[in-house]
Subunit: 306 residues, 2 copies
């Protein structure tokens, strides 16, 4: 979710302009939105023309804490974005920011307002942690956990006899991002299995026997793949001797061609180009296709009921 | 991220009020924000007083597609929320919505504007998929993938000799949510290991030898745990005979007491109560403590550099 993220806080982070994110909940909504918005400033973040530090304050549900943070933001010259479900907390935050000269933005209020008037219903006005909220023991809760546990067990070609139980099956050569992609999709509630394509190793028969509408191939530019494999080999401490041709260009190309032939033999599999896509972008492409194949809406979409 | 999510689209989703989410990117930012906002309407969603269907349209970067969606939204009487990085696309969207009588909300524009004036820099105005954007092959990209792969390998007490390599080690009895929590944290870039507490099985010595500041205990209400274990046993098709006392109340209580004793013997481990917390809420609590222990800021926060 935080694409532009470049440094964990290995010490007091003070350089650059500060953005404070304040939530009565986890803060992940504000973080996600800020991170997406920061993508629009990559041109100056990357070369440090305007380095930015973000500071997430979560679980802020009392006014004393909130005021302390606003004061701090004022001292640091920070921008403050907030998600506060209690309208009086949100109003206090806005007022205090004005008082202390802190530029501020309510990330949640406008959406709640728009949905409230759309539904003709008043919002609860209570933080997610407050008493009286829905239990997490919903069907959906169990479905997601099952998806994650299934996906972990099916990683890297394991248990090929279970492929038919998967919602989505990913296949591609090593380092096309099958594992992180599988996990990303699993978090969204999909059971995913991934099957590596390795030259000289036969693919499991079940891959061709299951519903072919759920199989997706991943492909990648050979130069980028080589660079990823080199980094991988280094981080695993593999020696750079000739016995390991895993990241050699000839081998990389040959393996991608081998995968390409398999893909050509299975024309129902959509082939997704992952080069220069973030995991969540590839996930979006796959889920769009997945739902499209399932429903054939006039306009491709992912629909959910709440 | 979609806490209130209750139904996958197993057919054309038409009942209830519609919310259209339109993005030139993945749509996950809009989905995350809408899902958090819908949490404020749980009181009527849950009992179906005002059932809602959301429809996500991703990768919308041309005006023709956009206009088609707006028209559709008009016909369906939908609310339309959008994240469009190109200001002219965002303006067209707004105008078209006015024209077709579609209530609309720009989720991204205000944040980009606030950050832009805070930094004194103009935004790119290009969708994330557009040419010229930062490559995903950043240090951070590799760090996250490594975290995910590490975390998968360390699931369920595997490879205890690797515990010292983890950033965070979770421990607790079966079904306290260690696995989904580990995966959630891994996606955020943390290497996580989880170690189950099972009566009659000794914990690995390494758990007590590693840096104790990174160990966290999970605990849960016994009634809730029993209900989770029952659901689990059913979904795994375990027979409900007496030989399996996994979900029997006496056993559940005894095992939680056993875990409680271990926690008491290791007072440096923070004990996190997970009952009625969503995974992402427990993750927020753990990360707040984790960063707090590491940095001892005057005010607990999670800081990042961009
Ligand atoms: N399930 C939920 N029920 C009620 N409010 C929620 C829910 N999820 C998120 N929120 C609210 O939405 C805002 C953002 O949440 P968070 O992403 O946890 O910081 C906070 O004000 C939360 O209180
Ligand atoms: N890394 C990024 N670079 C540029 N724009 C981004 C980035 N991430 C997200 N955005 C923009 O933020 C909005 C939300 O993105 P998404 O969550 O992918 O729908 C879209 O308008 C994207 O184009
Ligand atoms: Mg893998
Ligand atoms: Mg587990």
């Amino acid at each position: 979710d935080s694409e532009g993220f470049t440094g964990e806080d290995d010490g007091e982070v003070t350089e650059g302009k500060a953005i404070y994110m304040v939530s009565d909940g986890t803060g992940w909504t504000a973080e996600h939105a800020v991170s997406a918005a920061l993508g629009q400033f990559e041109h100056c973040l990357v070369n440090r023309g305007c380095s930015v530090s973000t500071h997430l304050f979560s679980g802020i549900d009392d006014i004393e804490h909130l005021m302390e943070i606003v004061k701090h933001a004022g001292k640091e010259g920070a921008l403050l974005v907030y998600t506060l479900a209690d309208p009086s907390m949100a109003a206090s935050c806005k007022k205090a920011c004005e008082l202390w000269g802190v530029p501020s933005l309510d990330v949640l209020g406008p959406i709640i307002e728009a949905i409230g008037s759309h539904l003709g219903v008043s919002p609860l006005g209570l933080p997610r942690g407050a008493a009286g909220r829905k239990s997490t023991l919903s069907e959906d809760y169990f479905r997601r956990i099952e998806a994650i546990e299934f996906t972990i067990k099916q990683d890297d070609g394991a248990l090929p006899h279970n492929l038919h139980k998967a919602d989505i099956v990913l296949t591609g050569v090593s380092r096309t991002g099958k594992t992180p992609l599988s996990i990303y999709l699993a978090q969204k509630g999909y059971k995913v299995a991934n099957v590596p394509i390795v030259m000289g190793i036969e693919l499991p028969k079940t891959l061709f026997e299951i519903d072919q509408d759920k199989v997706f191939g991943l492909t990648i530019n050979p130069v980028v793949l080589q660079s990823i494999r080199r980094t991988r080999a280094k981080s695993m401490g593999l020696a750079e001797d000739k016995s390991s041709n895993y990241s050699e260009m000839d081998y990389v190309k040959e393996e991608l061609e081998y995968a390409g032939k398999i893909f050509a033999q299975n024309p129902t599999w959509p082939i997704i180009e992952v080069t220069s896509k973030a995991i969540e972008e590839t996930a979006a492409v796959i889920l769009r296709l997945y739902h499209d194949r399932k429903h054939k809406y006039s306009m491709p979409r992912i629909s959910k009921r709440y």
